[in-house]
């Protein structure tokens, strides 16, 4: 009751002084900062339309357009007939819609192979990371064995080693194993992730002790307890870890760049890199945009479908550390 009384006041005050702030300063920064207003929440349901007048809302809209713009351009351009790509002023919507760039990319270039490689590697990396992380995380969270805590510190410590320090010697190790330019060479180095272990350990630790005891009384060994008691509880964390593994593998750049040599082993991003450098393809913007769209789509779809877990996982991995 009392809140509904307060709200109209806040609503009226708000647009007034924020717009003054905008007029009063050239830079965006202080304006944004002065918007720091978590205490006064405008409730859209009780104050219909008021947000339309709030500059803060439009600042968010402006950033969203900036964030989305390049993707929108990428996608629309990939459907434009060649003569519409270079028109000025730029036309946003293709007319008519053409699939020729996609046909070109899929039929005249090895892109389908690159895409396939990316899928194989990403799935293998995700499965492998989940396997190794689940087991290790469970051991760190729920089993007691000598050296456990020291080992966990070592794992966490490797989070601090920048990847690039290991790339050069890793390449030598993989070369020594004769795995350069092979799927195992692409996959094996990414099968263990301290991030996933850490994330899942957190999830396993929060489960109540009674569950474990109950499982033991029922005669479950550690494997059974893990698979039938702890995994179901930790499902969100498992999903998050899997998602991150997939994302990381799909977008990986440095390692697939140095470990692949033949064209047929390239992953999608690396294939795209060489398209850009190709004297002929590099100027075929319609085709480049089509290939870029195909590289981006799986991640965007996955992200939109699992947003909540995605963001929660990111936070779990970062804030609790």
């Amino acid at each position: 009751m009392s809140t509904t009384h307060k709200e109209p006041g806040a609503r009226i005050k708000q647009p007034g002084d924020t717009s003054q702030e905008i007029l009063g300063s050239a830079a965006n920064r202080p304006v944004i900062l002065r918007q720091a207003e978590p205490a006064e929440r405008i409730s859209p349901s009780s104050a219909p339309g008021s947000w339309l007048l709030a500059p803060s809302f439009w600042l968010v809209v402006a950033w969203s357009l900036l964030a989305l713009g390049p993707f929108a351009w990428m996608i629309t351009t990939s459907f434009k007939p060649p003569d519409q790509i270079f028109t000025y002023p730029p036309t946003w919507l293709p007319n008519p819609i053409t699939f020729e760039h996609y046909r070109y990319i899929l039929e005249r270039t090895p892109f389908p192979r690159f895409f396939f490689n990316s899928v194989v590697v990403a799935i293998a990396v995700t499965a492998g990371q989940l396997f190794s992380s689940i087991l290790a995380a469970y051991a760190f969270a729920r089993l007691s064995f000598p050296g456990r805590d020291a080992l966990f510190v070592v794992f966490l410590g490797t989070l601090m080693i920048p990847d690039l320090v290991t790339y050069v010697p890793l390449f030598m190790v993989v070369r020594f194993m004769d795995l350069v330019d092979t799927y195992p060479g692409l996959i094996l180095p990414s099968l263990v992730t301290p991030f996933g272990i850490f994330l899942l350990r957190q999830a396993f630790m929060t489960a109540p002790k009674e569950l474990e005891d109950a499982a033991r009384i029922d005669g479950c060994g550690p494997w059974r307890t893990l698979w039938s008691v702890f995994l179901p509880i930790a499902r969100p964390a498992v999903a998050t870890a899997g998602l991150f593994a997939f994302l990381q593998s799909w977008n990986a750049y440095f390692w697939p760049l140095i470990v692949t040599q033949s064209t047929s082993m390239r992953t999608a991003p690396i294939g795209l890199r060489y398209f850009v450098r190709d004297p002929e393809l590099g100027t075929n913007w319609g085709a480049l945009m089509a290939a870029s769209t195909l590289v981006v789509i799986p991640i965007v779809v996955l992200f939109l479908a699992t947003q909540r877990q995605f963001i929660q996982g990111l936070l779990a991995g970062s804030m609790k550390g």
């Binding site: 978590p38 205490a39 929440r41 010697p169 263990v192 140095i258």
Partner: protein, 324 residues
């Protein structure tokens, strides 16, 4: 460890007692030796796969790199030659290294603070109940999770000197077009703009989480005490957000010192070395010139630099950040 053959027996029981004595239920039995051994075996079996992967693909290469940094080896000749500290000396004496360090420093200073400020601003805006909040959050986050190569294709077109969107706009306004990514003066700033665009969403999400952890009552109490918006932000929100801010800063600086893909896709380190950041330099030394020992030395110097910067930030943070 203890002898595996020992009979499992409650430790409280007198030693003389025959093993046939009734055992307590397993749950309440204090861990016996065999049990402890079994636990150890299970523990290591579970950690095994991760431990193996970590040893072979992280720890071993780390050590290998260290050894490598003391030899000269071009991958083609069979034997590396021990050269002591020569690689490190060469790194420190090389103009290329200092140039790359300078470029990386400029890049870091020019991208980390702006991305953090904009990210914090957006987080503050999105911490309130505005319509479509979830959608805005997702959209803001998109640039951070998409493949940099794909994104670079679009940005390369935006900044293309002859038919890019930006120059078309400038010409339309009757202004002089720029060379952007092909200009030694403009390439690095352009790269930084793209990097900021890409990182804002990530910072935003981290700040949003930090904001949500701030107890509402504190802000309400400040309001009751007559604090205005700015005062509340300055004296309540910002101090309570300090641990998040420090975390975002540390992570961003670490990432920024390792920047590679955006450089490789947009400028190739050029023009004329204008955007050759440290890792790009490392890449050239290792995988274009194949001087592996030298590259390992660069990697270690870079590692030391990043560590030093991180420790420095945490030190300063310790004095200025108060964990609630």
């Amino acid at each position: 460890m203890t002898a595996p053959g020992a009979v499992a027996r409650p430790e409280s029981a007198p030693a003389a007692r025959p093993t046939l004595a009734p055992r307590p239920t397993p749950m309440f039995r204090p861990a016996g030796r065999r049990r402890r051994l079994a636990d150890a075996v299970t523990g290591y079996l579970f950690v095994g796969p991760a431990l193996l992967g970590m040893s072979v693909f992280v720890l071993l290469p780390m050590l290998y790199a260290f050894g490598l940094s003391f030899v000269r080896w071009d991958l083609i000749r069979p034997n590396p030659r021990f050269v002591g500290l020569d690689n490190y000396v060469a790194v420190v004496q090389s103009a290329d290294f200092w140039h790359a360090l300078r470029v990386t420093g400029i890049y870091t200073l020019g991208t980390v603070p702006p991305a953090m400020v904009v990210g914090l601003g957006l987080a503050l805006l999105l911490d309130r109940a505005i319509p479509l909040r979830g959608a805005f959050r997702a959209i803001g986050f998109l640039p951070s999770i998409t493949s940099i190569v794909a994104v670079a294709v679009v940005w390369a077109w935006v900044f293309h000197p002859s038919f890019g969107l930006l120059n078309a706009g400038l010409r339309g306004l009757g202004l002089e077009p720029h060379r952007w990514l092909s200009s030694p003066q403009e390439a690095l700033p352009v790269l930084m703009v793209v990097a900021i665009w890409r990182h804002v969403g990530y910072d935003m999400v981290l700040f949003l989480a930090g904001l949500q952890a701030i107890p509402r009552e504190l802000l309400e109490a400040a309001t009751v005490d007559g604090a205005g918006r700015w005062a509340r932000f300055r004296h309540v929100t910002l101090p309570l957000l300090a641990p998040t801010t420090l975390f975002v800063l540390v992570i961003s600086v670490i990432e920024s010192f390792q920047v590679f893909s955006i450089v490789d896709t947009l400028t190739n380190g050029g023009p004329a070395g204008a955007t050759t950041v440290l890792v790009y330099h490392l890449y050239e030394v290792a995988f274009v010139r194949f001087e592996m020992g030298r590259a390992a030395a660069i990697a270690y110097v870079l590692f030391a630099l990043v560590m030093a910067l991180t420790v420095l930030q945490l030190r300063i943070g310790k004095r200025r950040v108060h964990y609630a």
